[in-house]
Amino acid sequence: MTGFLNFAIAQLPNIAGGQIHGNFQFDAQYYNPDSTISAPVVPEKALSNGFGNIIYTNGKFMAGVRYEHYLNVMQGFPVGYKGTGIPYRFATYNNDGLEITVGSSYDQFGSGLVYRTYEERGLGYDNALDGMRIRWSPYHGVYLKGIWGKQRNFFSQSPGIVRGFDGELNLNELLGSKMDSCKTTWVLGGSFVSKYQSDQNPFLALPQNVGTWAARANMISSKFNLYGEYAYKINDPTLGNNFIYKPGTAVFVSASYANKGLGISVSMKQIDNFGYRSDRDAAGTSSMINYLPALTKQHTYQLAAFYPYATQPNGETGWQVEAGYKFKKGTKLGGKYGTSVTLNYSASYGLDTTELHDMDAASLGYSTNNFALGQIYFQDVNLEIFKKVSPKFKGTFLYSYMTYNKNVIEGKSGYPLIVSHIAVFDLIFKLSDKLTFRTDIEHLYTKEDHGSWGLLLAEMTMGEHWFAAAMDQYNYGNEVADDRIHYVNTQLGYYWGTNRIVVGYGKQRAGIFCVGGVCRFVPASNGFSLTLTSSF
C-alpha cells in the first residue's frame, strides 16, 4: 500500500509539466443565387473554411500542428485551397540559447523586405517555410537567424528552395559598459536570402539562383526613432515582371517623434522590381518570400476602406505622414475627458520609368529615375477626432479625401481616377450598466465609379454575452436606377469565456478586403453565415 503510494508520488513530476492548448475557428456561408447584385452561382450552395491549432509546451520544448479544411473554399479566398489536411506542423527546442525549429516556421528579417513568412487567416494567406529555422544569440547583443526550406503553397510546396541568414547587432548590449551613458539605442542588421529554382524555360536562360541582400540601421532615443533599410535583388525574371533581367531595389525609411501627448510619424518607401517569389511562374498571393506592405493608412470603417490601396511590387514610391495630439482634460479643447486629434496624409505614385526597347533575350525592360515620380496611384488626407463627451457618450469623427487609380490598383483599363470624400460618425451610447448602443453613420461622395454610398450601422451589446447588429449600405448615387441597391445585413453573436458564435444574414456587396498589404476580392453574396471560434 505504502509502496504503491510512494511509486505514485514519484511519477507525478512526469505527468505534470507539459501543457496542451489551442484554438479553432469554423466559418460557413450559404449562398442564395442573386442576380440583382451579381452574386455568382454557387453549385455547393454552402461553403466552409475551418482550422484548428494545437500546441504542446513542456519547458524548453514546444510542438504543434494545424489542421485546415476547405470544403469547398469560401468565395473570395484563393481557389487553390481544396480539401483537408495538416499543412502546418513544427517542433522547437531551445537548448541554452540555441533555438532550433524543424517543420513549419514563420519569421521576418528586418522589416520583411527580403524575407517574411507569416499567416493572415482572414485572407487565406500563409507562406510558411517548411524546413529548418535556427535562432541563436551567441553573445550579448548579437542575434542570428538562419532558414532553409521550401514554402507552403496551399496543401503542397512551391518548387523553389529558400535559404537565408540574418544578423542583428544591438550595439549598446554588445559594447556593454562602454555605452552605459548613452541614452540612445543603436541597432544594425543585415540579411542575405537566396532562392533556387531550376530553369525549364526553352527560350530564356533564367538564373537558377536569385539572391537578395538587405542592410538596416535603427536609432532609438526616448523621443525619436529613425529606421532605414535598403535591399537589392539580382536579376529575377518572373511572370510578375514580364521576364525582364533588371535587378530590383527597395528602400524603406521611417522616423518618429513621440512625447507628452504628441506623436508624429513619417514613413517613406520606394520599391523597384521587388516581387520575390519561390516560384517564378506564380501569381496572386502564392509563393511570396518577402513582404512589401502598403504605406497608406489602414482604414477600418467600411466606406473609408471601400477603395483600398494594394502595393504594386513592380514599382512605386509611397509615403505616409501622421501627427496625433491629445488635448488634455481640463483644457479648452480637451473638455472634461480630453480630445484626440489625428491628421494623416499618405500617397503612392508609380515610378518614373523609360521603356528600353532592347530586343536582346536578356532584356532589362526599363530604366528608372529614382528621384522623380510617375503617375499617381493613390492619395488620402484624413482627419480623425475622438472625444469622450460624458460617461454615457463618446464618439469618433473621420473625414477622408481620397484619390484612387482603379486601372493600376485593380489591373483594369479605361477608368478615370476616382476622387471621393468620405465622412464617418462612430457614436457610442452607454444606455445602462448592461446595455451599450453603437451607431456608425458613413457617407462616401464620388462622381465616378458607382457613385455615392450611404451606410448606417446599429450595434447593440447586451449584458456580457450578447451582441446584435444591423447594417445597410445603400448605393443611392448610382447612375443606373436599378443598381441603387440596399445591402442589408444583420448579425447576432453570443460570447462565453473564450468561445464565440456569430450568425449573420443578408446581402454583402462585392468588395476588396485587405489586411496589411495583401488584399482579396470578395464577390457579392446573399445568404446566411456562421462563425464559431474558441481558444483553450
Binding site: 500500500m1 505504502t2 503510494l5 505514485a8 505527468i15 529606421y227 496625433g324
Partner: protein, 192 residues
C-alpha cells in the same frame, strides 16, 4: 508474553498504524497539492518580443514581484482594442495603487503600422509596458486568434483568466475583478 512485552508490541503496532496513517495522509496531501497546483493553468509562453526602445526581450522574463500582470494583445488598427486600453488607462493609476498590477500591452502590428505604435502610445499617454510582436510569434504561441485578447496572470506567470472580446458593459470591471482575486490570493498566507 509479559505485560511489558505486550505493551511494547501494542505501542509498536500503534506506531506502525500511526506511521502508515501519517504516510497515507502525507501521500494524500501531496497528491492533492500536486494535482491542484498543476491545475492545467496555462503558463505564459516564452517568446522574444521587441520593446519600444529596440531591445529584444523574452516574455519569460516578464515579472511583477509576484503581483498580478495583465497581458493585452492589441493593434493600432483594432478599434475595440484601443477602446479597451484607453478605458483602462483612465483607472490604471487606481488599479496600481490598490493591487500593484502591471499591464503589458503587446502590439501585433506588422511593419506597415509598427512605426506608429510608439507615437500612438505617447499621444494617449499610456503608462503601460508596450512591446512589439511584429511577426505575431507571441500571438501564435498564446493561441490568440483575433484581437483584442486579454490575459490575467498570477504571480507565477500563469493564466488565471482570459477574454477575447471587448465588452463595453463592464468588460473592464471584469478584468479588474480577476486582478483583485489574484492580488488577494497572492497576499494570503501560503499553506506550507
Amino acid at each position: 508474553m509479559s505485560n511489558l512485552e505486550r505493551s511494547i508490541a501494542r505501542k509498536q503496532s500503534l506506531m506502525k498504524h500511526l506511521f502508515s496513517t501519517v504516510q497515507l495522509a502525507l501521500a494524500f496531501f501531496l497528491f492533492t497539492a500536486f494535482t491542484i497546483k498543476q491545475d492545467n493553468l496555462q503558463k505564459l509562453a516564452r517568446v522574444d518580443v521587441k520593446g519600444l526602445d529596440g531591445k529584444i526581450v523574452n516574455t519569460g522574463t516578464f515579472a511583477n514581484d509576484g503581483k498580478p500582470i495583465v497581458v493585452a494583445f492589441w493593434a493600432t488598427w483594432c478599434a475595440p482594442c484601443k477602446k479597451e486600453l484607453n478605458e483602462i488607462a483612465e483607472v490604471y493609476a487606481d488599479w496600481q495603487k490598490e493591487t500593484g498590477v502591471k499591464l503589458i500591452a503587446i502590439s501585433i502590428d506588422d511593419a506597415r503600422n509598427s512605426p506608429k505604435v510608439k507615437p500612438y502610445v505617447e499621444q494617449q499617454g499610456w503608462e503601460y509596458e508596450v512591446y512589439l510582436d511584429e511577426n505575431q510569434d507571441f500571438k501564435r504561441a498564446m493561441n490568440v486568434n483575433n484581437v483584442p485578447h486579454t490575459f490575467v496572470l498570477n504571480g507565477n506567470n500563469e493564466v488565471v483568466w482570459q477574454t477575447n472580446v471587448y465588452n463595453p458593459n463592464g468588460g473592464v470591471e471584469n478584468i479588474y475583478n480577476e486582478v483583485k482575486k489574484v492580488a488577494a490570493a497572492g497576499s494570503a498566507p501560503k499553506p506550507e
